[in-house]
């Protein structure tokens, strides 16, 4: 055993030491294009490489089949010959992400990730348009999460910018994101999504769709999906947000108003050419006397407000 250790020590001294002390003028055994291989990077960056096998990008190294420009350190940072010969310095790294403008970072990552379906709409995503690109959320070498190389836990990461949304998750009625029961990505795709199928389809650009065609609310709220014989037009045409605040609310059932009848009457006023028949959204029945408290709780009678198979006015 001692002989083995002595041999190992000799081997390290023989191989590694000359590499560390290599003068800048020493020619490197670089391949075409100036690629030197990851083992050279390891000499000066052992803190990065020692646990790189945990990194998803290590797959390109493990396969052993990828060309130099698609594997290891140089797969992302570019050929390292100039960097080695200059004995370091960010300016000599062809793709030093901390020095690159956002668009260049996006282009660099999409070199490999462009053909992944969840990123199909990244060019039109609100993040990209706001110059929020890959390295704003992902930390390739200092990730704190076991998956997806996120710089922080997802709730903390998203709320770092979206503080108003996090404030809504701290309201009494909310989806349980801070509690860990849900994640932002249950409803959102931070890499952008296709045009939505509700409202006029313009916004939002970061909301995933259930079964690729429906609001993400229906992923979990399965009883609201339908189809029903009698659909509530406002729900299907304009979406759940017509009545609800999805992140959080000070009002029960995540409603936009604290009292139900105001939610209903703000649309059901009979005025104009609104609604599915172009004659205004129906007013309440004349038999409803709003001075009587029983008529101030609309959903006590109209219980199937998301859609009904039995009654056109959602009574059962």
């Amino acid at each position: 055993m001692g002989v083995l250790r002595a041999f190992s020590l000799f081997f390290v001294v023989l191989v590694v030491t000359p590499a560390q002390n290599r003068p800048a003028t020493t020619p490197l055994a670089a391949t075409a294009g100036g690629y030197v291989g990851g083992s050279v990077c390891k000499t000066c960056h052992p803190n990065v490489t020692v646990s790189f096998y945990k990194n998803p990008h290590y797959k390109s190294v493990a396969s052993g089949k990828e060309p130099p420009e698609r594997t290891g350190c140089e797969g992302c940072h570019g050929p390292g010959k100039a960097h080695v010969e200059a004995q370091g310095g960010k300016a000599t790294i062809p793709h030093a992400f901390s020095l690159m403008p956002p668009a260049a970072i996006l282009d660099r990552c999409l070199t490999c990730h462009v053909k992944e379906v969840p990123r199909a709409n990244i060019r039109r995503s609100s993040h990209t348009l706001a110059d929020v690109v890959c390295t704003n959320c992902h930390s390739i070498h200092k990730s704190t999460t076991p998956q997806f190389l996120l710089a922080k836990g997802q709730a903390d990461l998203c709320s770092g910018c979206h503080t108003d949304v996090r404030a809504q998750f701290s309201m009494p009625f909310k989806h349980r994101v801070l509690e860990g029961a849900m994640k932002c990505t249950d409803c959102h795709n931070p890499h952008g999504t296709a045009a939505v199928t509700w409202r006029m389809g313009l916004r939002p650009r970061m909301v995933s769709q259930a079964l690729a065609t429906e609001e993400p609310c229906l992923k979990c709220h399965i009883d609201k999906r339908g189809p029903f014989v009698f659909e509530h037009g406002g729900v299907r045409v304009e979406g759940c947000e017509t009545c609800h605040s999805p992140h959080g609310s000070m009002n029960a059932k995540l409603l936009k108003r604290p009292v139900v009848f105001t939610v209903c009457l703000e649309c059901h006023n009979g005025a104009g050419t609104f609604g599915r028949e172009n004659i205004g959204v129906y007013t309440q029945s004349s038999s409803h006397n709003m001075a009587d408290p029983r008529f101030q709780n609309c959903t006590t009678c109209h219980v199937r407000i998301h859609g009904s198979n039995a009654d056109a006015t959602f009574l059962r």
Binding site: S51, Y53, K54, A62, L110, T111, V114, K115, V117, N121, L129, P146, D164, R166, S170, P172, E179, G180, A181, A194, M200, G201, L202, L211, A212, T213, I222, R225, G226, P227, F228, F230, R236, V237, T242, M250, A252, P258, V259, V260, T262, E266, N269, T273, F274, G275, R276, E277, N278, V281, T283, S286, N289, A291, R294, N297, C301, V303, N309, R316
Partner: protein
């Protein structure tokens, strides 16, 4: 809390709200245990941590509301766990990576587990499992008669074969189950001269989803095809087994027995096809086609026995059967053009088409006499064409201009009809077209490396909104500033949205303004501070119409919400052995500033209090301070202790108010 006390508390509190950030519940503990790099066993590296402890709670006030908002209870828990196993050369025998994460197992209201195992080149399997307790007394909804005490269990399995290959195959399965007791209501017997009765409801819903798909890369393109089947069933039953006087006991309508079963089953088969190209020097293209063909069948059987006006022994049986269908298609094509190194143009064209139709046959037998026998049909079709164009001009590395134009046109067709069996369905048909045009403009500045500034503006015009509160004439302005340098991150934002949807008879206007600031400071390894403050303001004015004793009243509905949300978190570490975290979360809606709920009637018709005036604002406070200490006993064990207080207080109505003391103690350990 009287006014002086409130002002005093506010003055003390305000300095802390200058820059706050949010916090998560006090447990599980986030202090690390064990070696960050893990332990090597053969060809694998293992990191792990498990936190086991006891939670407790003490609630004063409305415990139902506490269960709706917080819901942590008493008992032993596996509060959290993390296990990762990685092969050190990427050539593990059975797997190269295994990740298991859990939270709240044992009986927490929010239980979660995720599991991943994968072998490079060969396979990847992901599991997501959640169980959520849903308790909601909903006192302000339907007189508190829509209570729910259910649980939801969700799981999703995803398997990928050859994940790094040019040919990949997918299999997936998901299940979502919701069950438990609830209350609902029913109106009986003859609307509107009827009464409302609470019902016991046994909720039983289940959705299963199956997926199979494949991806292929060829000629610089990727084609992805996914086929799925969603299978849904709802076998919820409702019943009343004893005499019910109804919500209005002075009338003659009562209920002595009620049963309802309404099995509602169906499937939604779906296709998703994507086509993606490589990014060439000049362009990239992505295409998408999705189709979901939803269908449901149902039978509705309801039997009610009670008393009606003029009929002390009324029986009513209602049979309904029918089906609903909703084929839905969504497609889009995105073309990205890289005209020069500085100019990118992205154009997206989408076409969505959803058609919903359903029919039922309705039979009603009252006191052994058939009262109704009708056939009903409804159709709602929505066809939308959307086109958006975004232009990015990167003038320099620190200055980018953005502009966009969006156009959407929507066609809606509706048919509604009901007839006696055998009679022709003539239908009430209506069609309409809605169009919207919107323009956007933005700036992105990075004058110095730590500082980023973004400014955005959007203005839109719609010709025919679907509802009175939809967007019509709107504009939005937003800006954000962030300074990030070493251990300091400072940011502030402002967003304002204005919408005006006015017509000759009624009008709806909505103004929302959000302001926020946040700060994060980590001056040393032993100390960090996170803080944020947000103001979320909304005021709306909507034209409404309602009836008072048979007379139509045209009026306005005003709603004002002024929410102040602040959060502070500070973390201290003492000699790398003791971690201390203190936090405070405060959310308060100050409403429109009124101090009491009771006001004189705005209209004498309301006999004292105008419900519309009461509905204009709803001030309340929701606050939650917490403290947690974690002591490192040795390299592999920590002892944790935490306390969190919750207070919910409505200013005008106290029936839901509560105060809750919660806490836990636990051991975090690694092997």
């Amino acid at each position: 809390m009287n006014k002086k006390t409130y002002i005093l508390v506010s003055l003390i509190w305000m300095p802390f709200t200058a820059a706050l950030q949010a916090q998560q519940p006090v447990a599980p503990t986030d202090a690390p245990v064990g070696s960050a790099r893990g332990e090597n066993y053969g060809n694998y590296n293992i990191t792990d941590s498990f936190e086991t402890g006891y939670r407790w709670k003490s609630v004063g006030g409305d415990i139902g509301k506490y269960q709706s908002d917080v819901n942590f209870g008493n008992g032993l828990r596996l509060l959290g766990s993390n296990l990762t196993i990685d092969s050190r050369d990427g050539h593990g025998h059975y797997f190269d990576q295994l990740i298991l994460t859990t939270q709240g197992l044992g009986n927490d209201p929010y239980q979660f587990a995720s599991f991943r195992v994968q072998k490079n080149q060969l396979y990847r399997y992901d599991l997501l499992w959640r169980e959520t307790a849903y308790d909601d007394p909903a006192l302000t909804i339907a007189n508190g008669q829509h209570l729910m005490n259910t649980s939801r269990r969700m799981q999703d399995h995803s398997f990928v074969l050859f994940p790094q290959s040019n040919f990949r195959f997918f299999l997936g399965y998901g299940r979502d189950v919701q069950d438990g007791p609830a209350l609902s209501t029913i109106q009986l017997f003859n609307s509107p001269r009827a009464d409302e009765f609470p019902l016991f409801e046994n909720i039983r819903r289940q959705q299963d989803e199956y997926r199979v798909g494949a991806e292929a890369i060829f000629f610089g393109m990727k084609l992805s095809v996914l086929r799925g089947w969603e299978v849904f069933k709802d076998d919820t039953i409702d019943q009343v087994n004893q005499f019910q006087p109804g919500n209005n006991p002075t009338d003659a309508v009562t209920l002595s027995s009620f049963q309802r079963s309404q099995p509602y089953h169906g499937t939604t088969d779906n296709w998703q096809v994507h086509l993606l190209t490589d990014k060439s020097r000049f362009y990239s293209v992505t295409g998408r086609f999705a189709y979901a063909g939803g269908s449901r069948d149902f039978i509705f059987n309801q039997n009610a026995i009670g008393a009606d006006r003029g009929d002390p022994s009324r029986t009513r049986q209602t049979y309904i059967y029918g089906s609903g269908r909703r084929p839905s298609l969504a497609s889009s094509l995105t073309l990205s053009l890289f005209l020069t190194k500085k100019v990118t143009v992205v154009n997206n064209t989408a076409f969505n088409n959803t058609r919903m139709d359903g029919n039922n046959t309705y039979t009603e037998i009252t006191d052994s006499t058939q009262q109704a026998n009708t056939v009903n049909f409804q159709y709602l079709g929505i066809r939308t064409v959307i086109n958006t164009t975004d232009l990015n001009f990167r003038a320099t590395d620190w200055f980018t201009l953005y502009s966009g134009y969006q156009f959407s046109t929507r066609h809606i067709k509706s048919i509604e009809d009901g007839a006696f069996p055998g009679d022709p369905l003539t239908g009430i048909t209506a069609e309409q077209n809605n169009t919207i045009h919107a323009g956007e403009f933005g700036l992105r500045l990075r004058p110095i490396k730590p500082l980023t500034v973004t400014v955005d503006a959007e203005i839109g015009r719609a010709d025919h909104p679907f509802t009175p509160i939809s967007e019509k004439n709107y504009h939005a302005l937003s800006g954000r500033v962030q300074y990030k340098w070493k251990s300091v991150v400072l940011s502030a934002f402002s967003k304002a949205n204005y919408n005006n949807n006015s017509i000759s008879i009624t009008s709806a206007s909505s103004h929302s303004r959000n302001y926020g600031a946040s700060a994060s400071w980590t001056p040393a390894a032993w100390f960090s501070l996170d803080a944020s403050y947000n103001k979320i303001h909304l005021d709306t004015l909507s034209g409404i119409a309602y009836f008072l004793s048979g007379s139509l009243v045209n009026s306005t509905s005003v709603y004002v919400s002024n929410i102040h949300a602040g959060n502070l978190g500070a973390r201290f570490s003492v000699r790398k052995r003791v971690d201390l975290y203190v936090g405070y979360n405060h959310t308060q809606d100050t409403g429109d500033g009124r101090s009491t709920a009771s006001v004189l009637a705005q209209s004498s018709a309301f006999n004292g209090i105008d419900p519309f005036y009461l509905a204009q604002t709803f001030p309340l406070i929701y606050q939650s301070p917490l403290a947690r200490v974690s002591v490192k006993l040795n390299n592999k064990i920590r002892w944790n202790l935490g306390y969190q207080f919750y207070r919910y207080g409505e200013q005008f109505f106290a029936q839901q108010n509560y105060r809750a003391h919660t806490g836990y103690t636990s051991l975090t350990w690694a092997f």
